[in-house]
């Protein structure tokens, strides 16, 4: 059953800027949905409208079957987590966590029980009597999360909550958020520009660009079958390899690079795309180029090959060192080749 539903939700600012251009979105109960896109794509505005911090110009927001559009933020029962911790500096951690519960008039023993439970879950149980300034950035962010979660709202809204943390801590926090969300089964709407974060957290990724939804689906779907060149480029690190060319006589042509197509594809300009892990060097490979860069990544290696179609990246075994200047022939996994319309950028195969 749909839990959160956005119908034609739009936001146009007084200066005429169309931040969100009428989006439709349905979230199931307990789902973790991530709004992903570059800055200015409308993801944060969307989240703020759901929170009640922005008034939509058009459209409806339905939560648990009720149109909450006219409701003030307090009544919406959502837990909001920002990039910046925003803890009360003169309150201890315990007092910070108690604050939302006191507002709800939760009885003291119950309040105490809930604080200790959530603090233990988010591993801030030892910090309850400290003040925010005495905590590291990571611990402050844990407390901010705990404060959003202690109320057990029906919906979590998170706006780049890992924005300022370093890489190790991001991973830890990511796992903590995911585990906690699975445990309490709360529906979550999460905003980020980081595709890696989106892939790793989401039940469903909603890719936004220029105020509209470009694609939504599981991480695996969006990764394997991107709806457009934009999505294909944005998702994945490194992104997909592309070659611009023409389809004629049942094959893709880009100069000397000819790739026979097993599927029907109309004649005309087409961009061929494939992910780095599905390209390898092999004698007789269809696309030739020169190795220009060999990036050792520890767990794998990225080999960059300059081809007539641009620079391509291969993901290879960490043990397979490539030789700079070497001429390489690239073999593509036929199952994994994607085709995009040369004009619109939409995927056609």
């Amino acid at each position: 059953m749909s839990f959160l539903q956005l119908d034609g939700l739009a936001k146009t600012y007084a200066d005429g800027t169309q931040a969100v251009k009428g989006i439709d979105l349905v979230c199931e109960e307990g789902e973790f949905a991530v709004l992903l896109g570059p800055s200015g794509c409308g993801k944060t505005t969307t989240l703020r409208m759901v929170a009640g911090l922005e008034v939509p110009s058009a459209g409806r927001i339905v939560l648990g079957g009720v149109d909450i559009g006219p409701w003030p933020p307090r009544r919406r029962d959502v837990g909001f987590v920002f990039q910046f911790y925003a803890l009360y500096p003169h309150f201890t951690v315990r007092e910070n966590l108690a604050f939302p519960l006191e507002n709800m008039a939760v009885a003291a023993p119950e309040c105490r029980r809930r604080i200790e439970e959530i603090a233990a879950r988010l591993r801030v149980g030892d910090l309850l009597e400290r003040y925010p300034r005495e905590l590291s950035g990571g611990d402050q962010q844990r407390v901010a999360l705990a404060r959003a979660m202690v109320r057990r709202p029906q919906l979590y809204l998170m706006d780049e909550p890992l924005g300022t943390l370093d890489a190790d801590l991001r991973l830890v926090m990511r796992e903590l958020i995911r585990e906690q969300q699975l445990n309490d089964g709360a529906t979550t709407l999460y905003v980020t520009h980081d595709q890696e974060e989106a892939m790793s957290l989401a039940d469903r990724i909603v890719v936004m660009e220029a105020g509209t939804i470009r694609q939504h689906g599981t991480a695996a779907e969006v990764y394997a079958r991107p709806a457009s060149l934009f999505v294909a480029h944005f998702i994945g690190s490194p992104g997909m390899n592309f070659a611009e060319g023409q389809v004629r006589d049942g094959a893709f042509h880009a100069g000397d690079f000819v790739w026979p197509l097993s599927v029907q594809c109309p004649t005309g300009p087409v961009t061929l795309g494939i992910r780095p892990e599905f390209v390898r060097m092999a004698d007789g490979g269809a696309l030739r180029g020169e190795v220009v860069l060999d990036e050792y990544m520890g767990a794998c290696r990225y080999v960059h090959v300059q081809t007539p179609c641009g620079r391509w990246v291969l993901r290879t075994d960490a043990g397979q060192r490539a030789v700079l200047g070497q001429v390489a022939a690239l073999q593509l996994d036929p199952e994994q080749v994607r085709l995009f319309d040369g004009q619109s950028g939409e995927r056609i195969g």
Partner: protein, 346 residues
């Protein structure tokens, strides 16, 4: 390759902090050395000592065989690029790029200045931006221009202090590759400071790991990654970080907990150590003891699993030939030949 830069026994105290403690480092004349370490390790101070912006309290700095310890920054002919690049906002990109060439004491003809600016613009693919005011540039474009301004005068040494840190992930990845390609074209020795393990691994000829002012290990990326000399060094590289276990020698194996025999050892019965196992060196199946999957993350070409195993939380990078679910039981198997061990010190 000849040695270009040589640091010997560098000490530096800033206020009450001993920022650098007896640092020895060498840089070849066509080498990219990455200085890797957490915030506060002394990385920026080290760069400033190289540039001549700080005088060392003790030790020596040699460039191309000459002691430059008393030289001013300008004499050292070093280009320094910071995390936050400061361009003149109202100036065009061309004027910003030409600025270092017009410094007092440089008597370059206008035609030579134009030639150099065009050269650097082509190298960095910013030709189309040359006549725009800097204030109109995107973050990535600004960073390119700032890097261009550093290399336009072809310094003897190029120092980069976390140049990609403030950019978003996608841009960081693109610029990392461009910097690596650029560097091959330039042939100027570089010292590159970062706290990002991926940048260090992918860009460096050699990595120097710095912690609390001390160099802990120096070597090629493969060496630092596969044979780190301490758990501290091991944890600087790799995402997710290396898994660490406490182990005891028992019946010719390093054993974790009661039943986790992870690697053979010849060390006497009862000895203790820390074992390091990289997430990609654990197969989810085929081992003797069970683990429970807690979190499954889609990392594109692979899964990242967080599992409870042998009493600790362990990361596994698993290939995508099958799927995993939270709560599922798996039987991890470690590639024993890839396990690193550090004897417990007193």
């Amino acid at each position: 390759m000849k040695t270009f830069l040589q640091l010997r026994g560098i000490d530096k105290t800033l206020g009450r902090v001993r920022a650098l403690r007896g640092v020895d480092l060498e840089l070849g004349d066509d080498e990219l050395l990455v200085v890797l370490g957490p915030t506060g390790a002394g990385k920026t101070t080290l760069l400033r000592v190289m540039a001549g912006l700080e005088r060392a309290d003790a030790g020596s700095v040699h460039m191309a065989g000459e002691d430059v310890g008393q030289w001013e920054p300008a004499q050292r002919d070093v280009a320094f690029a910071f995390q936050n690049f400061a361009l003149y906002p109202d100036w065009s990109v061309r004027r910003n790029l030409a600025f270092p060439l017009r410094a007092p004491g440089r008597q370059l003809a206008e035609s030579e200045i134009k030639r150099r600016v065009d050269w650097v613009a082509e190298l960095l693919r910013i030709e189309r931006l040359l006549d725009r005011p800097s204030v109109q540039l995107s973050g990535g474009e600004m960073q390119r221009v700032a890097i261009g301004r550093c290399i336009v005068r072809r310094p003897r040494l190029f120092l980069l202090d976390e140049p990609l840190t403030n950019l978003d992930a996608k841009l960081r990845e693109e610029l990392r590759v461009e910097l690596a390609l650029l560097r091959r074209a330039l042939g100027i020795p570089m010292v590159y400071v970062t706290h990002d393990g991926a940048e260090a691994l992918s860009m460096a000829d050699r990595i120097a790991v710095l912690s609390e002012g001390c160099v802990l290990q120096v070597g090629a990326p493969e060496i630092i990654y596969r044979q780190p000399n301490s758990p501290l060094v091991a944890r600087q590289l790799g995402q997710p970080a290396i898994n660490l276990f406490r182990a005891r020698s028992q019946g010719g194996h390093w054993v974790v907990g009661r039943e986790g025999a992870l690697a053979p050892t010849a060390v006497g019965q009862g000895a203790e150590c820390t074992l390091g196992v990289r997430p990609e060196d654990i197969e989810p199946d085929g081992g003797p003891s069970a683990a429970r999957v807690r979190v499954v993350e889609d990392a594109g070409p692979t899964w990242i699993l967080l599992v409870d195993w042998l009493g600790v939380s362990v990361h596994i990078i698993a290939d995508k030939t099958r799927r995993y679910d939270p709560g599922q039981q798996i039987w991890p198997r470690v590639a024993a030949e890839r396990v690193v061990s550090w004897e417990a010190s007193a």
